[in-house]
């Protein structure tokens, strides 16, 4: 039988249609969900709006990713950020265009300053409306450009899968950071062929270095082993690299003194004698003096922040050799000139160092080290964190933190904090032995993160105890999230150190502005107990020192309830030691007698 031309033609057409239809067509929103699932995202914190309605529709139709509806977009980003800090996973938030994005900016900048891996999905007006001052339009890419590691505007749904793959890769690799993916509404609606989530991603312009230069590491080790007064200074980079175990091994092998920055607390156990306490503006006497007087400084995953080095000229006065291990070359020799830079992933570099030490027969100078430790113990005798707890009528904020620490130190506990005096006391008096338990905004110093951080972590760690140490000023900035805590059953314990002042500002006004307390007193504070109850939680007011421990014990017993503890603390207490602006790190104020 002769096959006609027409029959051949129609058979060919049917064939091509069949192979085209074997690749499914999905809407942009559905591709987004598939991408998040492929990236093993378990939680997304977000707030719906017009530009993201298609995305929310796709979320409705799936059940592997839990979406948490917050009460303010700022809290959505903070919650995802806190989750990322505690678990090491990429935190994901979803907000709508315009005001959704602008509300999220604080959260994004917070994550950027502390290098936290995050992907923030933002809705955008349809592509044909961009630039026409449409309803709820804002230049998301332009606004977030200085506060993200990178951002993307997806103009076509066929680019969405690859863009998301790149976004996650950029967020978690090299020096981590937040990545914004801006998706116009029509892009989330359009159907395009989806052949699957890309398995790999290649970016010729982005290849972060992991392995440190062998020669540099060798040189660094020679210096380190020959040191007479060595010091190991570590920061958030150790936690981001999950290198706490390697750090401990290194410090224990060498027997050298070690300090953490605010962001690095927990990387090395505070209970070990080799830990000298946090250093910096509110660091201990021994930690700061050692920083100034050491002859060889090993900086690991820390960036010589201005809070840590004090007056740079004063810092540079002493002759010391500095070795700096960091994954970001731009962090090296930025504020302080470094002698041996090692660019690489902290975990990889420390592992190599440890291997080299094991192979080498050189040992540290025991005599010099002994003398150095004697000097350090002399400084430690100052006992700079001691505070006067003899007044039976007033609660000392330090006492609340110490009591909390004593009660929870043997249990898996996460401590989140807001910003201010309470944050410093939490950092000083809660002695962290494990990494990723101390969750606070160090770089940007954002008030309001405490509750959202806590609720983000509690969702992921329901069996752990999560405490938010906060102040009555900070806690009001995201207080509406108490509602989210109830809806998603994330019982957190809020330890509010209520001194009725914006404490840190008041302290600076006392020290630098001769006691002109300009707008640092909080009048008309709410009745926090009633407020907590209005949100469906338990509220407690504690005004006497003998009630502190019972209150905390009671709060811990209420495992399924969020408890707001309003501790009325001594408003005259200041954070000591204190290095004033412009002073050197050894020029510390040690107590009220120094004011």
């Amino acid at each position: 039988m002769e096959i006609s031309k027409a029959e051949i033609a129609s058979a060919a057409l049917a064939n091509s249609q069949r192979s085209a239809s074997s690749v499914p067509e999905l809407r942009g929103a559905e591709i987004l969900v598939k991408a998040l699932q492929a990236e093993n995202v378990k939680y997304v914190w977000g707030y719906p709006g017009g530009a993201v309605l298609h995305i929310y529709d796709a979320f409705y139709k799936q059940d592997t990713i839990q979406h948490v509806l917050v009460r303010h977009e700022q809290a959505a980003v903070h919650a995802a950020d806190g989750y990322a800090r505690a678990t090491g996973d990429v935190g994901v938030a979803l907000v709508t265009s315009g005001p959704g994005v602008t509300n999220a900016v604080t959260g994004i900048a917070t994550a950027y300053m502390d290098s936290i891996p995050m992907v923030i999905i933002t809705g955008q007006v349809p592509t044909h409306a961009i630039g026409l001052d449409a309803f709820q339009e804002c230049d998301t890419v332009g606004i977030t450009r200085p506060i993200v590691k990178h951002n993307f505007l997806v103009k076509d749904a066929k680019d969405l899968a690859e863009t998301l793959k790149k976004a996650f890769h950029i967020a978690r690799s090299g020096r981590p950071g937040p990545v914004v993916v801006d998706i116009p509404k029509d892009v989330s609606f359009k159907k395009v062929p989806y052949a699957g989530y890309p398995a790999t991603v290649e970016m010729r312009s982005y290849n972060p270095v992991r392995k440190g230069h062998g020669g540099q590491i060798r040189k660094a080790l020679q210096l380190l082993l020959a040191a007479k007064r060595p010091y190991i200074y570590t920061g958030g980079g150790v936690l981001l690299s999950n290198a706490s175990a390697e750090l401990r091994t290194l410090v224990d092998m060498l027997g050298y003194p070690c300090t953490n920055t605010l962001m690095g607390l927990g990387a090395y156990p505070a209970s070990d004698r080799k830990f000298l306490g946090m250093l910096g503006m509110h660091g201990t006497v021994e930690a700061n003096n050692a920083m100034q007087n050491c002859d060889v400084l090993l900086a690991v995953g820390a960036r010589f922040d201005d809070r840590v080095i004090g007056n740079p000229k004063h810092f540079a006065q002493n002759e010391r050799k500095i070795i700096h291990i960091d994954i970001d070359p731009s962090s090296i020799s930025k504020r302080v000139k470094v002698d041996i830079p090692i660019v690489g992933d902290v975990k990889d570099v420390l592992s190599e160092m440890i291997a080299m030490i094991r192979e080498s027969s050189t040992k540290p100078d025991a005599g010099a080290l002994g003398a150095w430790w004697d000097t350090i113990e002399g400084w430690r005798k100052r006992d700079c964190l001691k505070y006067d707890n003899s007044n039976k009528d007033v609660i000392k904020p330090q006492y609340v933190v110490e009591t909390l620490w004593n009660m929870t130190k043997d249990v898996e506990t996460y401590i989140t904090s807001d910003v201010g005096q309470h944050q410093m006391w939490a950092a000083q008096y809660y002695r962290f032995d494990e990494p990723r338990r101390w969750i606070n905004s160090g770089g940007l110093g954002t008030m309001g993160v405490g509750i959202p951080y806590a609720m983000g972590i509690k969702l992921a760690k329901p069996e752990s105890e999560v405490f938010c140490v906060t102040g009555e000023g900070s806690v009001q900035m995201c207080i509406q999230e108490l509602s989210t805590c109830l809806q998603y059953n994330t019982p957190i314990k809020i330890v509010a150190l209520n001194n009725r002042y914006l404490g840190m500002v008041r302290q600076w006004q006392e020290v630098e502005y001769e006691g002109r307390y300009s707008h640092s007193y909080m009048d008309a504070l709410p009745n926090f107990v009633k407020l907590a109850e209005a949100y469906g939680h338990v509220g407690m007011l504690i005004e006497r020192p003998e009630d502190v421990e019972p209150a905390l014990r009671e709060a811990r017993k209420l495992k399924d309830r969020t408890v707001f503890m309003d501790f009325r603390t001594d408003p005259t207490e200041n954070v000591f030691p204190m290095v004033q602006a412009g002073k050197g790190i050894t020029e510390m104020l040690l107590g009220a007698e120094d004011l």
Binding site: S205, P329, S330, K334
Partner: protein
Amino acid sequence: MKHIIAVLLENEPGALSRVVGLFSARGYNIESLTVAPTEDASLSRMTIQTTGSDDVIEQITKHLNRLIEVVKVVDLTEGAYTERELMMVKVRAVGKEREEMKRMADIFRGRIIDVTEKSYTVELTGDQSKNDAFLEAIDRSAILETVRTGSSGIGRGERILRV
């Protein structure tokens, strides 16, 4: 110290904004900036002229490298390089001035690319100092308008910037 930095970056929307944003956010100064695609249409090449101490230039280079779209950065001033800038100057050229202006243009190997009864437009190519010198040499009051592209730089000999 003047530095000429050559940057290869992905030819993507927003890449230029990112570089300029970086400079303004960190307080580095841009004397001139020129950018265009290379023979590889997916790559753009940018030449930035900036001034600063060695420390500042080191920071600028590191921050440029940190940008996701930046593929490669070279500080041309660290070695031998050639720098060229295109300048077009519209000058008043009336009566006897015309002869003199034509002579000046010839001396500087410029070309007159537009002519009216009262003006010439002179096109000049050269390094920045040559172009500056031309403007110094002619009668200031005769200058009606100038437009300069800013310097483009390229390494000499075997110094090649490519992916």
